[in-house]
């Protein structure tokens, strides 16, 4: 979809004032829920998501059990009020697909072989949506998994790059997503650089793809640091409470 909006100025300034390689503001808090085994609240620009983790616990129905390892079942859900035009409650085709690609990405880093027949259930609720909810949701899920004490090889993290007005940029905003040329969400295991999630819509030359990919991975590493700080903070305040 083309538009007359100039998404990026000749000086490389974007609609919200960011430069091409700037992330939107991100705020992460671990351990925000009482009943869940682990949880995380995350704000990323205008996005607001909460992730909760339950498990490992027996997978039900039984026929979903894998005798050799745990399954990871993420459920990405958008609240009816999270978008401008009210969304019907419950899963739609989009959320089923996103739940699937997030589940697959998380399964790679969880040490599933330690929990045969178990399920690790990740619930991702999008309360405010403004471009990039799958990256926000996966990133929050990573923190919630740590908070739940699930053994993992690494903390998974996601960030998108894209192309607007002919330029490769980091972390598309709302209008950039609607009227830009391409969107490339990427999730990685930051320790190894392995790619856990990769989707692309739009139009990129091979060179642009390489640029955008590198930029997204760099973004992932930045977000990874914010994740770790949130986890540290939770443990420090927990430790402080114990000392008191």
């Amino acid at each position: 979809m083309k538009s007359d909006i100039e998404l990026i100025s000749s000086e490389g300034k974007r609609l919200d004032g960011r430069g091409p390689h700037d992330l939107r503001k991100i705020k992460i808090e671990a351990g925000v829920l009482h009943r869940a085994d682990g949880s995380c609240s995350l704000e990323w620009g205008g996005n607001k998501v909460i992730a909760a983790v339950y498990g490992p616990r027996e997978a039900v129905p039984r026929h979903t059990q894998n005798p050799l390892r745990a399954i990871v079942q993420a459920r990405y859900n958008m609240a009816a009020f999270s978008v401008e035009d009210r969304k019907r409650p419950g899963p739609d085709r989009r959320s089923v697909e996103i739940s699937k690609v997030i589940s697959e990405a998380l399964e790679k880093v969880v040490l599933t072989e330690q929990f045969p027949r178990a399920s690790i259930d990740v619930s991702i609720e999008v309360l405010d949506a403004e471009a990039g909810t799958r990256c926000a949701g996966l990133t929050a899920a990573g923190v919630a998994l740590v908070d739940a004490g699930i053994p993992m090889r690494d903390i998974p993290v996601a960030c998108a790059a894209g192309k607007i007005g002919g330029q490769v940029v980091l972390d598309l905003g709302k209008e950039e997503d609607n009227f830009g040329d391409a969107d490339l969400p990427v999730a990685i295991s930051p320790r190894t650089g392995e790619v856990l999630l990769l989707q692309m819509d739009g139009h990129l030359t091979v060179d642009e793809f390489n640029q955008a990919f590198d930029l997204a991975v760099k973004g992932c590493h930045t977000v990874s640091e914010i994740q770790k700080k949130a986890i540290m903070q939770k443990y420090q305040s927990a430790a402080a409470e114990v000392q008191e």
Binding site: L33, Y54, R75, A79, F81, P89, S123, E125, D128, E130
Partner: protein, 267 residues
Amino acid sequence: MTIVPIIKRDYITKLAEQGKRIDGRSFDQYRNIEIETKVVNKAEGSARVKIGHTQVLVGIKIDLGEPFADSPNMGVLSTTAELIPMASPDFESGPPREDAIELARVVDRGVRESQVVDVEKLVITPGEKVWIVFIDIHILDYDGNLFDAASLGALAALSTATIPAKRFSEQLPEDYPKEDFPLPMSEPPISCTAVKINDFVFFDPCFDEEIIADVRLTVATDNNGDIRAMQKGLSGSFTKEEIQKVIKGALDNGQEIRKQLNQSTGK
């Protein structure tokens, strides 16, 4: 349904015989209540309510639509409750269970029957075009007493909601205002819930109390001390005296909660 260890029931009733509850409250005392409004940007109104660890987020979306054929001079209210799997290890994904339906219907009646939203002021063109108010209740953390948390969340979210007349200006009649304005509301009744375990009546049950409760009663009362709605739940029974006791506690707690609600919504 979880088979609750008899030991936990014993513990709770033994404490009760000594006049105590597991978290140290008195029998008719509520847990700490927090009300935060305007927490979701995309919603026309929203509130996050915590009662102890129980946490509910309610978002209001307002859309244009047609009135029901049998009430051409009234706007439409629609309430849904999602017991999302996030909130409890026992909630599964999928279509609303009967608990979610009962919850949504009780909140809905609390709003509808008490006429807290002035639905006649939601009419744009009688019989043709009205505002539809969607109340979506998201249970984030379930530690008992969803009825009160959800009702309070709905009221707080409604109280701060605005009619998005600006966004829909092109679809509105010429002489209709085109600026956003507050949802027309009147003084809301407050829902208070108690459960009975053996012969003890506990207000604002936490999760551990709720799952062993014999019977539950929710009473909504207004600022005049009148009763605006009641709902008995679970397969136990009440005596008339117990019902009167719950009404009294609901009136007392309701006054306190109403003050806090008005404060948080700036009314």
